[in-house]
Symmetry: C2
Subunit: 325 residues, 2 copies
């Protein structure tokens, strides 16, 4: 297998691009894809202050590394989610990365600062862990970006992530979500600008990027996400992609080019009626935002060990096998 | 396992409905679902003359049986596609069904009347067999319905079919196809009204219906369709449905309820500029319609045996593994 660019020994084949690359040209390919994503979607400009949402996994560390390489003033933020050893190791990977490169990493610990962790939130609310986890992370990164005066929040969502989210949104025709599934979310009152510079790179490519750059990332997947819908949608798309390379790319980018606009009205309507949370000031549809309600409900509860929370479970009726969805 | 209706022994469980049925109540369920599809979408009215597109498989024979049971004046039409033993056995199943019930079955043989068969068309055009097969069937059923003065053509597309087609259409955001993927296609100049009364029934249910009704259908799938995209999309949706029963139903019916309208403009625009084929009079975008062009190109060619045509193959560049799509 030879590099498509220099004919030297290739280390990776990218079927959807009908190309193989040596380490040097693969790293250049990754940078080019990120530059193109930033340019095509007008994500951000050099000199802007970027806050990178860091988990310690391959995507967020590759993203941080790439943005720094490209000359962005990028600081990181990692949240201690309290998901046992998984969270400890993830945070440690993020800390080690930052220290080695002399980068600034902001740390927040859910249990230390808000009195709860994700397993406990999931057990108390009887909801899938991913629900309170995603909401908590979004709330805290938004707050940190606004409080810290950053120009933009960058997250490590890759092509596989976005295609799987899109599949979930079309399978249920979540028109509001379809109307705001974009690689850029503009700044709005109470929300920072948010961008996804890795949307042109596949999961396998961000992993290879980390390996070739010597980035020591957290390899394990979150134990609480096992069996969730998002991973099922990814697996379904993986099968299709294997037979027809390029399908994920077409699915996501043709959506943006030819369908997304048709769902904007619902997304815009959902943005109307938002008012500041009476407790923290974040935009919300009710009086008190979902984050403050969660803290109110689970803050200060004794920790529930990860092993006692069934991953991927759903609450109520839908938990029974055979229930119609 | 007990019947949800009568508590007698059940023979089938329908997870997406959270129900089990005995033979009697399963057959009633199938009839109810067809009646509901016909009513919800205003497909047709009793007394109308219906032409059923019959293949000899479970879906088309179940459909024909159900329509006759429901009192429709339904005649069948079967097309000899020339796909070796598969076509012979399929036609034989359709003929036997019609004879047993004293129903009228119209027969057309591609080779006998138009001088070609599907394997030969595929080999000569170097396209997937499903391409010339689908086009030929659509053309001939439309022609037969118009020539015979039928009010409506009924096809056996079930929920799995429609969901898989929808998945293919969204994966590539085929906006024109999305705009006309409906259970009813209205009559237009050169096109008969077309309806899909089985859209509320899954493939497994039409098979069970045939078994319980003693309908001897062609069980084997078409050998030339093996490995095609449609079957891959079905398999992907099957995996998701197994974990979340009801997903296919929601995917298809929520699309109709909340998204289909957004794609109508493209479908309508594609209908504009159609003019009559200079050879046969059927609506076409060019001078001569695709069917007449196919007959011109492959009519009278020596038959190519099924075994010599690689199923599911694609032509040109895209046939190479690794080509981007």
């Amino acid at each position: 297998m030879k590099c498509t660019v220099c004919r030297g020994p290739a280390v990776i084949d990218l079927r959807r691009h009908n190309a193989n690359f040596c380490p040097e040209h693969f790293l250049r390919f990754c940078r080019d894809q990120v530059v193109r994503a930033i340019d095509d979607h007008g994500m951000m400009a050099p000199g802007q202050r970027v806050l990178v949402a860091v988990s310690g996994g391959k995507d967020s560390l590759a993203l941080w590394d790439l943005l720094v390489e490209l000359g962005y003033d990028a600081e990181g933020m990692v949240i201690g989610l309290g998901i046992g050893d998984y969270s400890d190791a993830s945070t440690a990977a993020a800390v080690a990365f930052a220290e080695q490169r002399g980068l600034r990493l902001h740390r927040i610990d859910l249990r230390g600062e808000y009195g709860y962790d994700i397993p406990t939130a999931s057990a108390v609310t009887r909801r899938v862990p991913c629900s309170s986890c995603g909401m908590s992370k979004r709330h805290l990164i938004d707050k940190a970006a606004l409080d810290g005066g950053y120009d933009v929040v960058a997250t490590g969502h890759n092509l596989d992530d976005e295609a799987a989210v899109l599949l979930g949104n079309v399978l249920h025709w979540q028109t509001e979500y379809l109307g705001r599934q974009e690689p850029v979310l503009a700044e709005r009152p109470g929300f920072p600008r948010k961008v996804k510079p890795l949307v042109r790179l596949a999961e396998r490519e961000t992993a290879a990027y980390c390996v070739l750059r010597g980035i020591d990332y957290m390899v394990e997947e979150c134990p609480m996400a096992a069996g969730n819908r998002h991973l099922r949608y990814k697996a379904a798309l993986d099968e299709i992609e294997a037979a027809s390379p390029g399908t994920k790319h077409a699915f996501y980018f043709e959506f943006l080019a030819r369908a997304a606009d048709r769902f904007r009205p619902e997304a815009a309507a959902a943005q109307e009626g938002l008012t500041p949370c009476t407790s923290c000031g974040a935009p919300t549809t009710g009086e008190v935002c979902a984050f403050c309600r969660l803290v109110e409900r689970v803050g200060g509860r004794e920790p529930v060990p990860v092993e006692l929370v069934r991953p991927g479970r759903r609450r109520g009726k839908a938990r029974k096998a055979g229930a119609a969805t």
